[in-house]
Symmetry: C2
Subunit: 325 residues, 2 copies
Amino acid sequence: MQTIEQLRGLFEEYLEANAFTQQPKELYAPMAYVMGMGGKRLRPVFALMGAQLFSSRLHAALPVAMAVEVFHNFSLVHDDIMDEAPLRRGKATVHHKYGLNAGILSGDAMLIYAYEFIRQAENQPAIPRLLHVFNRVAIEVCEGQQYDMNFEQRQDVRIEDYLLMIELKTAALIGGSLVLGALSVGAPEQDIEKLMAFGRNIGVAFQLQDDILDTFGDPRKFGKKVGGDIAQNKKTFLILKALELAQGETRDKLAGYMSTNPEDEAQKIREVTAILRQLHIPEWAEKMKEQFQETALAALAGIAVPEERKAPLREMSLRLMQRES
Amino acid sequence: MQTIEQLRGLFEEYLEANAFTQQPKELYAPMAYVMGMGGKRLRPVFALMGAQLFSSRLHAALPVAMAVEVFHNFSLVHDDIMDEAPLRRGKATVHHKYGLNAGILSGDAMLIYAYEFIRQAENQPAIPRLLHVFNRVAIEVCEGQQYDMNFEQRQDVRIEDYLLMIELKTAALIGGSLVLGALSVGAPEQDIEKLMAFGRNIGVAFQLQDDILDTFGDPRKFGKKVGGDIAQNKKTFLILKALELAQGETRDKLAGYMSTNPEDEAQKIREVTAILRQLHIPEWAEKMKEQFQETALAALAGIAVPEERKAPLREMSLRLMQRES
């Protein structure tokens, strides 16, 4: 069995051997830049973990691991344009460094290369099935991004709308990564649905932890500005639950803050955070997160492989839920 | 045998049955809008003609015909953003009608749906091969678009650079359409390369005709503003050949006009067009176009199917070369 760190190392080697060095450089250099920014390589590691549940022939899952990482980076590049984000992981975003056109076109090319890595899967008879899973997930990510943008304008978002949105935008690709890895090594069909359920529920829990950190994280450990979601009026679970629980003046104040962009942003973040604490929102969010985590682990328990093969997935789930950045 | 018009009708029916009516509407409405703008449906008709060379089971090629049309429309939506074009076929472009973010995201979703139609090909064992051809062509289109943008900034573009660029940006997808259609009905491997060569050469000839019409077309018949390429300093074959032939003051004047944006655009178009006429560029361009057409027809001649099956392709080639819009 390979540990999470060993799996990440295996992927980084493959990534290096498949670097985007082609011509014209104006197209490929932005692709190499964003792929080289690093990050946790969460999705390819999930793909390799999905394979390792069923087989030790992990090299067979490297192309799909690459596909999900290239796809994820495509979505970051285009999302950063849509969100007008100047920075990612402390570095200039692609469109800020290379311009809007390079951001659009190199993103497009990455999306195509994601499919090219799907095609390179060793398990050729599985390709139609891999393509089906990948297409479904990729469309869900686009739909989730659209709902996310819609919700910024809407004042009637419900908690269930939000949970569906993050399932589409974030969790579907995590479930897809696991499933693509598993299918690459010929996992039996009856386990695929359970693996997808595990991944989607862990993915939602992962995003809820992101939301918690965005507001309540330790500024010294969290990579981004704490309070960013509040400043941007993002209707995360934290805000939606607070709007459900708050009453009278508190509710009016919260709703007012979350639909405007006051000049004193620091004050807004401070006051909204205080209201969230007062309503015990961190505890509500923890509880919601644990529910998804439990549903995930129940799905994992139903997969018919020896328990020790599941150890890295359990370990990864714990780490994701307890992380501070 | 189905005529070109019958093939187009067959495709339009399939298109209507597969309209983008899903949710969220903010994502799918722009997709339906651009797909409904019409146009010649050249690429799907080529896909069906590619199938008809080898089989009369044309329905088997409808999914790939849809894939190439959806892909083509994705590329139009993103190219219009990059070219800052407000209009296409006399209507507002997607990003002008729906905004930049809708243009980016609905383009992305169309690219993914193109792959979903590839996956829906009836000939399931052919899917890895279809995917390989489609990926190659899709990457070439992106590379071609990048070279096209690079060339706007460069003063040292050679005719061979230009011909490679239009092969990537335009002709590869025409060749790909024919090949995908043929592979959908199980065409023999030895004919595939010849079919690709036919399509690529016809595609280059098609683009050369486009270039001729852009400068020398009849303003009453041509859909766009005549002289647009000159105004935008596009280094088409016409300009590159003229720069090769011109001497002394004429060359300086031409080079000067094609690297600046003078206030009196109409005068620039008039004077550059006069220089091109004086250098017999229309005749040079016709000759170049015919060379590609002949190479295409020679490749078609080598395909081992009865001559009457090739009739629609010959007819289409003639029409494309003689068209006035």
